[in-house]
């Protein structure tokens, strides 16, 4: 659930420099320093996130908010957010409320597909799990087309891999990462693996050509992932060191696809 409020606040609050809210965010993970996303949200919606935060800060006894709840900062717009169905016209579009931003998803996909292009460090600030979920499902679907029902293995290995990479990245980098960011990057870089399993439907991968293709795809995935991680976390001289554990993880996926 705490991911939920971070998610919400990441998506909507990036452009606004409301001082109270930025102080309040300083205790919630590392994403708050890197706000640079240019999401479009209508200007009337800023106070709604504060509706979620003050009560919890009262409970956690960190007085960033000095009783903002009881001040009449609520506009009619915010009430409609809380679901009282008042202003149907003022509700945001469904995709924006869900946090799915197709433009960003497409940009991130293009970054993954071109591992040689240097990545922008700020694109991974919003922990967007929609794209990764789509790619995992696509991987499972293409494996299904090849006759292997391995959904459980895909989910299990991605969960364990995310935990392990999160631990390693927190130890190796100076700024930490959140689970969501790691899961998002690893999920996006799974896209070339979907291509590999798609080609496994057409021809069998168990020869020399298949092994070479699998090695190439694993290298592509891990180079992309390490490129995004090193640019987002500002780690110099460690790209190959991050690429190696990513290659181990994607190698497991490749084993699943090939055998």
């Amino acid at each position: 659930m705490s991911n939920f409020e971070q998610y919400y606040s990441d998506f909507y609050q990036s452009n606004y420099t409301i001082d109270n809210q930025e102080e309040g965010y300083s205790s919630y993970g590392s994403n708050e320093n890197l706000f640079a996303c240019s999401c479009r949200s209508p200007p009337g919606e800023q106070p709604q996130a504060s509706a979620f935060l003050p009560s919890e800060t009262l409970l956690s006894s960190q007085n960033y908010y000095t009783g903002q709840i009881l001040q009449p900062t609520y506009s009619p717009n915010t009430l409609s957010y809380i679901g009282y169905g008042d202003g149907f016209d003022e509700e945001p579009p469904l995709l924006e409320e869900l946090g799915i931003n197709f433009d960003h998803i497409w940009q991130k996909t293009l970054t993954v597909l071109n591992p040689m292009k240097p990545a922008d460090g700020s694109i991974m600030n919003e922990t967007d799990l929609t794209g990764p979920m789509v790619f995992c499902l696509a991987l499972g679907a293409t494996l299904l087309l090849a006759g292997k029902v391995h959904f459980g293995y895909v989910y299990g290995m991605s969960a364990i891999g995310c935990l392990a990479m999160h631990a390693l990245l927190n130890l190796m980098s100076i700024t930490g990462v959140s689970h969501g960011c790691v899961a998002s990057v690893l999920g996006y870089c799974l896209l070339p693996m979907v291509i590999l399993s798609g080609s496994a439907v057409v021809f069998s991968l168990q020869g020399t050509l298949g092994t070479l293709l699998a090695l190439l795809i694993v290298g592509w995935c891990s180079l992309s992932a390490s490129k995004i991680f090193t640019s987002a976390l500002a780690m110099e001289g460690q790209q190959l060191l991050i690429a190696y554990p990513c290659a181990l993880l994607y190698g497991l996926f490749a084993l699943l696809t090939v055998f």
């Binding site: 659930m1 705490s2 939920f4 409020e5 919630y28 509706a51 979620f52 935060l53 003050p54 009560s55 919890e56 800060t57 409970l59 956690s60 709840i69 009881l70 009430l79 809380i82 679901g83 009282y84 390693l168 927190n170 130890l171 190796m172 110099e236 001289g237 460690q238 790209q239 190959l240 060191l241 190696y244 554990p245 181990l248 190698g251 497991l252």
Partner: protein, 247 residues
């Protein structure tokens, strides 16, 4: 007024309370993790970069040309591994351990002896031997009453370096058969032996003895035997943990 506050955004209050519980839980976990696992100390061992890893791997396989084995210090604290190739790190041992498990699975798979259970068995037995070795070294350091600045994490790092040799031996065994395996493993065993002797000599022996001057005395002899014993345990374990994978 408090009443109107409670009456209106009830659902948002519930959502906020739920999320506050979760973040409180996470705070508790973070605080307690710091007591069990000293994350700050561990970060030192992972402050590596690609150049360091390359040089260290080269040292592990060919330690004969390297002259200066002393760890450099900076105001009483050892310099990060990034800046000194002699400092121990944990990145190589952890990666080598995981790669060893994967290569063991690969070796079993090519001999059609693979099952996920056997992979778990390999992993847990390797981990158990690592723990036993570290405990044995700690016990013997305590018995010999050597005053050294070797921490437990340093010992784990040194014990983890032999996995690099094991992986190279296993891969050559898979590619070139038994002769390749024995030849490469023999070479890696010998180089790990020399590496451990040269590294531990500076940490365990007294200053004069470390520089090569023969210092007579029962204590120094005991420490010398201890260093040789620790170094000799490495090749034995390397052989023990790999020979059953290439039968």
């Amino acid at each position: 007024p408090a009443a109107s506050f409670l009456a209106e955004p009830v659902s948002s209050l519930a959502a906020a309370y739920g999320s506050s519980l979760a973040s409180q839980g996470r705070d508790i976990v973070d605080r307690n993790i710091d007591r069990l696992v000293p994350v700050g100390r561990l970060k030192y061992y992972f402050a590596v970069d690609t150049v360091y890893v390359g040089k260290k791997l080269g040292l592990l396989v060919f330690p004969f040309m390297h002259q200066d084995w002393q760890v450099r210090y900076q105001q009483d604290a050892p310099v990060a591994p990034r800046f000194d190739v002699n400092a121990p790190d944990l990145y190589i041992p952890v990666m080598a351990f995981i790669t060893y498990i994967l290569v063991a699975g690969l070796a079993l798979g090519t001999q059609n002896r693979f099952s996920p259970d056997s992979l778990g068995l390999q992993a847990s037995s390797a981990l158990a031997w690592l723990i036993v070795e570290v405990l044995a070294v700690l016990l013997s350091l305590y018995l010999v009453t050597v005053s050294t600045d070797l921490t437990t994490v340093d010992l784990v790092a040194f014990s983890g370096y032999k996995y690099v040799g094991m992986i190279i031996g296993l891969v050559s065994g898979l590619l070139f058969g038994k002769t390749g395996y024995y030849a490469v493993l023999g070479w890696c065993c010998f180089s790990i032996f020399v590496f451990m002797i040269r590294t531990l000599r500076l940490k365990l022996l007294s200053e004069a003895a470390a520089e090569g001057v023969l210092v007579r005395g029962a204590r120094n002899q005991l420490r010398m035997y201890l260093t040789v014993a620790i170094a000799a345990a490495q090749p034995l374990l390397m052989y023990w943990l790999t020979w059953h994978l290439l039968r």
